[in-house]
Symmetry: C2
Subunit: 335 residues, 2 copies
DNA sequence: CTGTTAGCGCGTTCAT
DNA sequence: ATGAACGCGCTAACAG
C-alpha cells in the first residue's frame, strides 16, 4: 500500500503549464475559459482521478454538503427504511449522510446533536424519543445556523419543523374499516404514554367509534411490548377485533390469541400499525397501516435543503408541520 | 433562526487577550501551558460552546476521523446490525461514519467507492455484492492511502483484508446437529452461485454428511428466494429436514410445507442461517445459525484503525482474513 | 511559557 | 482570458 499521495490542483496546474486559478475555473465551468482548455484540464483531471479536497472546500465555503441523521436505533425497520429513503434522496442532491443512533437516554440524544454540530453538518434530520425538559441546547444548535427537521414524532416542548405520518387518520381509517366489515367490539392496545404517535393513534380509534355511534370504547394501555400479553390476560375477552399501537403489539396479541386457541381472523381480527416486514412473516399475515417512509424521507430532505438555502440568503422561514397520509393494508389477519 | 455565527479560535483569543496559538495549545492540553490558563480558556470555550472547525483541522492533518461503510442495502437486518455495531465501536474511538448503500449493480458499487474516496474518509468497510471483472479501481483507492476492509463476503479476484463469519463451520455444526438428533435425509437449499457465503455453507453441509458416513447428498440450488417454492415442488419429498442457505429461504420452505399440510417440526425440521429477527416471528419459531454481528463490527473496526495507523507511519501490513465463529440457535422448527 | 509566521488546498478577488 | 495574492480556521515550527 503506497503512502498518501493525493493529486491536487497545483499538480494539474504544473503539468498543464497553467495557474491553479485557471485550472480551478476550468473545472468549475467558469464562462470565460475557452472550451478547449476546459477539455484539456478535465481530461488530465480524470486521468489522474483528481478530486478536490473537501476540507479545503469546506473551509472556504463553510458548507459541508453533509447532513446528519439522528435516530433512536437501527433495530426498528421503520426507522431504517426512512433513513434509507433519506439517503437516496440526499444522494440525488450530492449530499452525504452521517448517521448516529441515540439510544433511549436523553443524555445520548443531546450528545448526538452536539456531535452533529461538531461535525458541522449543514442540517439535521432527527427522530427523537420523548420530551426533553430542557430544550435550550436545540436553540444553541439552531443558533449555529444548523436547521433541524424532526420526523415521525412530535415533541410538545419543541417548536420546530416536523414531518409526520398522519397517525390520526391512519388509525381512524383502520378502525372504520373494522367497523364497516362487521366488527362490533374493538379492543385498542394503546402504546407508550409519552409518544405523540401513540396519542394520535388512540384519538383516531376513539373518533372512529364516535362517528359510528359506538359508545363502548375499550382501551388497554401498554407501556411496552412485554406488557401486552399480561394486560390481555386480565382483560375480558369479549372483543371481536384488536387494533394495536404498532405491529409488534399486534404480534404479541396474535401469539396470545393463538395460545388461547382463539382463531384469527375467524373469531377475532387483528390489525397493527407501521407495516414492518414482520407482517408478512406471521401466519396469518398481519393487516396493518403502512406509513409513508418514502415520502417522509423525500419531504424531510427537500424541506431541510430549502431551509439550508433560505438560511444562506438570510431569509428566516416559518416552522411548519407536515402530515403525510398512510395506507391501509388488509391482509389475512382481518376477516 | 440566526445566521451562521460559529465561534472560532480567534474569538476566544481576543476575548481572553491571548494569541490563537496559546488558546489552541491550552485546548489541546499542551504541557507547557499553566493549568490556570488552561482552565480559563476551557471555561470560555465551554461557555461559548466552541468546537474546532473540522475542516481546518482536516486540511491540516489530512485525516477526517471519518470512515465509510458501504453495504448493498438497508433491507437486510443482518447488514444493518453489523453497521450498527460498527457505528458503536467507531464512536468509542471518536470516529464518524458515512454510510452508502450500493444497490446491486457493479456500477453503483464502484461509484460508492469513489464517493467515499472523494469524501476523503480515512478508511472503508465494505460488503460487496459479487465478483468484479475489473478491480483496478480498488487499487486506485488503496493508492490514495485509504485502507479497505471487506466483510461478510469474499471476492475471489480481490486480495485484501477480510472479516467473515465462519460459514463453513456454522453450516457444518447445524447439519451435524440435525444428524445427531436423528434426521436421516437432509435436504439442503443452496443459495446464489456467485456468493462466497453460499459456497462455504454448502461445503459445510457436504462435509458434515461425509463425516457422518452419509453418502446420500441432496442439494437444491436456488438463485433467489422466489425460486424456493418452485424448486421444492419439483423435488421428491423424501426428506426429514431442510437446511437452508439463509432464513428467508427457510421461511419460504416453511410456508411451502405448511401449505402441503406437512407438520414442522414433527415430520420435517427446518433450519435457517443468519438469525434474522423474523426467526422469532414465524410459527414455529425458526432454528438458525446466528452470525456474530457484534464481533464482525468490532474486529473490522479495530483492524481498519490498525491499518490506518500503520499506514500513517508508512508501515505496510499484510492482508489477512479473519473468520469468526457462529452460534447454533435451536428453536421450535427442529425436533 | 507565549506570540509570530507560515501553510494545509481551494476559490475568489483584483489586477493585467 | 489568465495569473498573483489573499484568506477560510487551525496547528506546528520557530523565535523569544
Amino acid at each position: 500500500m503506497k503512502p498518501n499521495r493525493r493529486v491536487k490542483l497545483s499538480d494539474l496546474a504544473s503539468k498543464l503549464g497553467l495557474s491553479t486559478s485557471t485550472v480551478s475555473r476550468a473545472l468549475n465551468d467558469h464562462p470565460k475559459i475557452p472550451t478547449a482548455t476546459k477539455k484539456r484540464v478535465q481530461l488530465l483531471a480524470d486521468e489522474l482521478s483528481y478530486h478536490p479536497n473537501p476540507f479545503a472546500k469546506g473551509l472556504l465555503k463553510q458548507k459541508t454538503k453533509t447532513i446528519g441523521v439522528l435516530l433512536p436505533s437501527f433495530k426498528l425497520p421503520f426507522f431504517v427504511d426512512i433513513t434509507d429513503n433519506i439517503q437516496k434522496e440526499l444522494k440525488s442532491y450530492g449530499y452525504n449522510l452521517i448517521v448516529t443512533t441515540t439510544g433511549k437516554s436523553l443524555k445520548d440524544e443531546k450528545e448526538a446533536f452536539w456531535k452533529m454540530a461538531k461535525a458541522h453538518v449543514d442540517g439535521i434530520i432527527a427522530i427523537i424519543n420523548q420530551d426533553h425538559e430542557e430544550v435550550s441546547f436545540l436553540n444553541d444548535i439552531l443558533d449555529e445556523g444548523i436547521p433541524i427537521i424532526f420526523i415521525d414524532r412530535v415533541v410538545e416542548s419543541i417548536d420546530a419543523n416536523y414531518v409526520l405520518s398522519d397517525d390520526f387518520t391512519g388509525s381512524y381509517t383502520a378502525i372504520d374499516h373494522l367497523i364497516k366489515t362487521g366488527h362490533k367490539k374493538i379492543l385498542y392496545l394503546e402504546g407508550p404514554e409519552n409518544l405523540s404517535t401513540s396519542f394520535y393513534r388512540t384519538q383516531g380509534y376513539l373518533e372512529a367509534l364516535k362517528d359510528n355511534q359506538i359508545n363502548d370504547t375499550n382501551v388497554l394501555s401498554c407501556e411496552n411490548v412485554d406488557e401486552v400479553k399480561l394486560k390481555l390476560q386480565s382483560c375480558p375477552s369479549s372483543y371481536d377485533a384488536i387494533a394495536c399501537f404498532n405491529d409488534y403489539y399486534a404480534f404479541e396479541a396474535l401469539e396470545y390469541l393463538q395460545a388461547q386457541k382463539v382463531q384469527v381472523p375467524n373469531q377475532v381480527s387483528i390489525i397493527g400499525f407501521a407495516d414492518e416486514p414482520l407482517c408478512k412473516y406471521t401466519s396469518p399475515k398481519l393487516s396493518t397501516v403502512a406509513q409513508p417512509c418514502e415520502e417522509i424521507g423525500k419531504i424531510s430532505v427537500s424541506n431541510l435543503l430549502n431551509e439550508i438555502n433560505s438560511l444562506q440568503i438570510n431569509q428566516p422561514t416559518e416552522f411548519k408541520t407536515i402530515k403525510i397520509p398512510t395506507t391501509l393494508k388488509i391482509r389475512e389477519s382481518c376477516k
